[in-house]
Amino acid sequence: MNQLSRYVRGPLILVALLVIMRYLFPNKMTFFWEVSTFGIYIIANDILYGYMGMVSFGQPFYLGVGAYAAAIYLAHIGHNIFIAISFAILAGLVTGLILGPAYIRLRGDYYALINAATCAMGLFMVEKVLYSITNGDDGLWYRSSMQPTPLLNLKMPGDVFWFTMIILGLVMIFYTWLDRSTLGAAFRGMKASENKMKFLGYDTFKLRWLGYTMMCVLAALSGSLYAINYGFVNPSITEPARSAEVLVATLLGGPGSVYGPFFGTVAFIGIKDFVSAIMTRWELAVGILTIIVCFYFEGGVWGTIQKIGYKIKARATKTDRAVSGETAGSSKS
């Protein structure tokens, strides 16, 4: 029981916080919904970037896989939303299993670039090659073919919010488990030194493949949530130019920590909303911010919070020790 609560407590507090915020600021629901959906996407990226140290410039591709899988199912095949989400997860799984062996054996920089190439080719596929299925630039519209579901009606944005909360909670629990498990430790070990991990007897190829597939599935899940909430999908979701967002949000939060991706998402989307109210585009502010974070706050938002927390704790224990030492001394005398 105690074992379980270790993994569940944090994510539950987080989700509860989001729900409370959503009812405190009722007209900001889209913001909180986007934070949780984008958060799943960033968690997916963080498994690769934060734990394994692999930068990718083509993350929108994996988001697009999920979004288009769900959209194609709803527009051409069936009407059930839950099956559409499962379909998207399946698509992510297949993508990860097929592309994985070819990609993960590449060195860091090549891995980043082949992802950029994949993303450009994915954009080309949905725009031109698969035009008859995806409708090219016009996008797929399928809201009318979505069947209302029992319990949580996923045609309604309010219910999608609740559904996303449940998914986010589950993903966060999984992610907390990953952080504290042997698997997570093995991922971190690979980031530090792959040769040493090999020496210790770990099959690093399989570990990377596993991490890559996890990333694909989670990103596809996030993409399918986007597809369901908006009721349409167009190629702008897989634009290579958007790959920067992912990296910046991951960095902002603090890569390689449990709550880092979430706080990064809040900070990133918050700043984006805030800046785009002042300027038409947000590239300038985000670029400057990333450099500042890179050089001065290596742990990102969450890392800084943690550091302050440690400092307070250290000070507290110091005064504790001083007090107890005094009493010990006094009792002796």
């Binding site: 070819a102 980043a112 082949i114 450009a120 130019a241 990296l247 585009r281 890179c294």
Partner: protein, 292 residues
């Protein structure tokens, strides 16, 4: 039919010239400074926009070309001395993220100053020559000739001058060069300024051909990276050869089937990375020289 393909080949040579000019910075940046230069395309964008502004303002293309190159070189100098110095020696991921943010700042600045819309740039001259039945604008031929002369100049600089030899030695082993009493930081700065100037020059030359847009650097960044990877990181000769191949892939491929102009390079990159990650002239696990 023949003249169609002939003109496609010549158009491809122009693209090769531009690709070569903008890729040198990335190639040398990796070979000499061991960083991944994502921000090289900022200078390309700056060069192109300066040309656009000066052609629109004064009507003189030559002035635009010179100012674009100079401003790009100055921007390169500022970025190198203020920011990239703190980055040398860190891991590649870190350099990638930092230089990518510089790239974003550059895009943001351009958007802030010139707006979001893409704009055309007037051709400096509209002479058309006919080669074996193919009608080719003289300007395109000139771009190719200019970039080839740049290659010859770089080759001479690296092989005939003492400074160029120091750069080549730095690519082999920076620590030993420093041990010989050569200020490697100064070499870094000068190389970087020259490379960014060349990127700006490429942007200025390319502006009349493709027009200007804030995100023009993004596609070019991908193409330039493909060129560098195909040629082998750190090798100037490899960059030239792969730029020539890339130009033909884009131009002739695009003539055969339209969308290939954009996707062809990525397909090439796919094949190269998966089957020969070191590129044409690269050697695995070793910094490679410019010659052989």
């Amino acid at each position: 039919m023949f003249d169609l393909y002939l003109s496609a080949v010549i158009f491809g040579l122009t693209i090769s010239g531009i690709l070569f000019l903008v890729s040198i910075g990335i190639s040398i940046g990796f070979g000499l400074m061991r960083i991944i230069n994502m921000e090289q395309m900022v200078y390309y964008t700056f060069g192109a926009y300066l040309t656009f502004a000066l052609v629109a303002g004064t009507g003189s293309f030559l002035l635009g070309l010179i100012c674009g190159t100079l401003v790009a070189a100055i921007a390169g100098f500022l970025v190198e001395t203020q920011l990239l110095r703190r980055v040398y020696g860190k891991e590649l991921m870190f350099t990638m993220v930092v230089t990518f943010s510089v790239f974003m700042i550059g895009i943001g600045l351009v958007q802030y100053i010139f707006g979001l819309a893409s704009k055309p740039v007037g051709m400096p001259f509209r002479v058309i020559v006919s080669i074996m039945g193919a009608q080719v604008p003289l300007y395109r031929l000139m771009v190719f000739v200019i970039s080839m002369s740049v290659y010859v100049l770089i080759w001479m600089f690296l092989n005939k001058t003492i400074f160029g030899k120091a750069i080549r030695a730095g690519i082999e082993n920076p620590d030993q060069v420093q041990g010989l009493g050569i200020n490697i930081r100064k070499i870094f700065t000068i190389t970087f300024v020259v490379a960014s100037g060349l990127a700006g020059f490429g942007g200025a030359l390319n502006a009349p051909l493709v027009g200007v847009a804030p995100y023009m650097g993004f596609d070019m960044l991908l193409f330039a990276f493909i060129t560098v990877i195909l040629g082998g990181l750190g090798s100037i000769k490899g960059t030239l050869v792969s730029a020539l191949i890339m130009g033909q892939v884009m131009s002739v491929g695009g003539t055969i089937y339209g969308p290939l102009a954009f996707v062809g390079p990525f397909m090439v990159m796919f094949v190269v990375i998966l089957f020969r990650p070191t590129g044409l002239y690269g050697v695995k696990g070793r910094a490679f020289g410019f010659e052989e």
